[in-house]
């Protein structure tokens, strides 16, 4: 069975500082990988995705993520965070199209301090 691990439950970052949120997956082949953000009272919003090709993917709101096959990781990064980035972030894995079971990690809560 595939699984997704987000080892950091809660991260606090100063506004303007860089950010990296970790995500590791467990699956034999290369899965399809996603990062979503969830703000209070809001649904999940897709930040970026990796299906194939260039392992560094750019997303919305200035986020990027790098797929590293050797480490089974798909970490999310942002060079300079803004107070509006405070939210819950979820990494998700899809084994393949046609297999709907999108598997989410437990999430990382991001707090931004002035």
């Amino acid at each position: 069975a595939q699984s997704v691990t987000q080892p950091d439950i809660h991260i606090t970052v100063s506004e303007g500082a860089s950010l990296e949120l970790r995500c590791n997956y467990s699956y034999g082949a290369t899965p399809y990988l996603f990062w979503y953000v969830q703000s209070p009272g809001q649904g999940l919003q897709l930040l970026l995705k990796y299906f194939s090709g260039d392992t560094l993917v750019q997303g919305i709101k200035g986020f990027e993520a790098e797929f590293k096959r050797s480490q089974s990781s798909f970490n999310l990064r942002k060079p300079s965070v803004h107070w509006s980035d405070a939210a819950e972030y979820f990494c998700a894995v899809l084994r393949g199209f046609g297999n709907e079971k999108l598997t989410f990690g437990t999430g990382t809560r991001l707090t931004i301090i002035p």
Partner: protein
């Protein structure tokens, strides 16, 4: 375009009761998926509806059932409610079962079972 809408926003039920949650997909979308998000957890896939049929199902008991209407809207029904069913229920829609890059989530329905 209103995006994915869900009703009601909040709901309180008691153990043993039945509940129906509703979802209207984003305009042009024909595939609806339902997820359960317990407090402090990532969303878990319940089932997917496409062409008015349940296409795939996650690890949820038969107490969870659904329906998709000709206008692509969907309902999630839960019978014999348990305390553990308390969660945020998310609906997601997309055009076609495989377009995960174009999947949109609704804000969810918060169900509390007492």
């Amino acid at each position: 375009d209103a995006g994915v809408t869900q009703s009601p926003t909040h709901l309180i039920k008691t153990r043993g009761q039945q509940v129906t949650l509703r979802c209207s997909p984003k305009s042009g979308h024909d595939t609806v998926s339902w997820y359960q998000q317990a407090l402090g957890q990532g969303p878990q896939f319940i089932f997917q509806y496409y062409e008015e049929e349940e296409r795939q199902r996650g690890n949820f008991p038969d107490r969870f059932s659904g329906h998709q209407f000709p206008n692509y809207s969907s309902e999630l029904n839960v019978n014999a409610l348990l305390l553990g069913d308390s969660a945020l229920y998310l609906c997601a829609s997309r055009w076609g079962p495989e377009r995960y890059d174009e999947q949109f989530f609704g804000p969810g329905t918060r169900l509390t079972v007492l």
